[in-house]
Symmetry: C2
Subunit: 348 residues, 2 copies
Amino acid sequence: MESPVVTPDRIVKLSLAFRAAKALLSAVELDIFTALAEGPLGLDPLRTRLGIDQRGARDFFDALVALGMLERDQHGRYGNTPETDLYLDRQKPTYIGGELVHFSTYVYPHWDLLTPALRTGEPQSGTRATGHYSALYADHTALETFLKGMTGGSLQVANAVATKFPWPDYETFVDIGTAQGGLPVQIATVHTHLTGGGFDLPPVRLHFERYGQEHGLAPRLQFYPGDFLAEPLPAADVLILGRVLHNWDLATKRLLLKKAYDALPDGGALIVYERLIDDERRANATALLASLNMLIMTAGGFDFTGADCIGWMREAGFRDLHVELLTDDQSMVVGTKQIDKSTGASAA
Amino acid sequence: MESPVVTPDRIVKLSLAFRAAKALLSAVELDIFTALAEGPLGLDPLRTRLGIDQRGARDFFDALVALGMLERDQHGRYGNTPETDLYLDRQKPTYIGGELVHFSTYVYPHWDLLTPALRTGEPQSGTRATGHYSALYADHTALETFLKGMTGGSLQVANAVATKFPWPDYETFVDIGTAQGGLPVQIATVHTHLTGGGFDLPPVRLHFERYGQEHGLAPRLQFYPGDFLAEPLPAADVLILGRVLHNWDLATKRLLLKKAYDALPDGGALIVYERLIDDERRANATALLASLNMLIMTAGGFDFTGADCIGWMREAGFRDLHVELLTDDQSMVVGTKQIDKSTGASAA
């Protein structure tokens, strides 16, 4: 009697998944989806348009077809799928390709160093690993790529934060570590009664203000320059820490939560959103791998579960804590600050 | 009325697939599955055994759980899954990890160069790209890793070739580009009436003979040293070109098929097996990406469809051509040589 057949197919498929990923990332780098947003193109016109050599072009385009990222019609012309047309055409406001270019040029090569990162526990990203973004922000081109990537990568979650949080109950908000201000723009667009802004390092001001102006929100959205490690956070009814805490070690995570608590008024709220690891730590591979990304990229950063975050927020004084799903892979943890009026201290 | 919701989830998931792949590849490099083949281990004993730092260990192991490559019991101890135990434990003859180590240390970093490879059409692998394996074969450690990888990666397909081809109709066979001889060993084990061997560059002899002896097949399997670009192929009833043709440009593919035809007797057969691209070039992403791997790694290599291969084999003189599926992702193209007895020429 034979035992049930165990094949290596899943192992082989997973082990080769880097090729499929890199094909898509190179396609975004080469801006193929922007080219095809104007209409389908045959093999030679498309490769000429992109400036790629004849040798690999057909295999490349057909691989993207097989991966479901392009379509090919009966005349052999290539075109975008509905999703690549909406999210990878640089001309559309829904473009998320900035984040993919960041993956392609910066994250992919650093993941070649996963094994030494695991062996040593040390980041493999040189000066960028110190935790301060100053080095990155001093390089104007790198900063622009990074900021656009952050905006593109947070469009979906920004939309979910704008619709799922009870914004009518509040007047002001500040997004901490705001980058271009993708999140404040989204929230202020949906909720016209709100004013607020974004907090980030001084070199980000220009990018934030330009992005706000492009969306006609400059009067209601202000830039707050500062270093959240060294200075207090700005005051507002609602503060947001989105994909910030995972960059930092536990002591800094706690420090930032305490600073947020201190900056809020009585009745104010903090929103933390992240790619949370599931509490059992056995289902959400994406979040666990995001934590390994922090191992490679930062000196002390790591991702965490909703239960972890609720624990740290409770220690900082927050109450009414709950976790709510935002998108396929991201959630928010919300807590409020409630001063006990009789004593002036936080309620138990 | 809103249009149907198009989310970027598939794009984001595909774009990040390199992380999941690299986590598995690093796990194989660190030999975690061999360690756990002896029995489950808790977090600290496992990380100590592997020599990895505390910082990333738990995220790494839990990511492998979430990817389905490890299990974790109610005591928090990690163990192999049935498939990782069978295929990634170095102590088992079914080990395929050699190929994954090759992916991790050589293929993954070269795929960082996909974009320049596409732009230029030029290989990105330095001296190894010239087509000759001499440079690789001169480096003993690299050669051993490569050969083991080839054997591990061809175990499944070797088993399929051994069972699906009508071997009782033939007496002798030679595997061209045999590496360690994984395929001849498999065929000779199943079919005890056969004699034959493997053809490869002279530095491979030692590895081939050792592997044959380990499997008790040394008397029936002979090593044929040679350079198939410069010399004729050895004669046998059946010749096999397995994952060889894809390494070469079209002229060399045709040359090798002609040499195979010339070396076969009347009634002899040629087996070509590869990860064939589907004839429509729109379904088999793995094979299309394998062809891009040839773009990055070789001066002229590319993968092809069954229809392409049948066309080239027909031009070389082969008849009775057909394609047969071997495994999930590989197929063989079989053709025979039939001399027309009345004229001495090949039958039309």
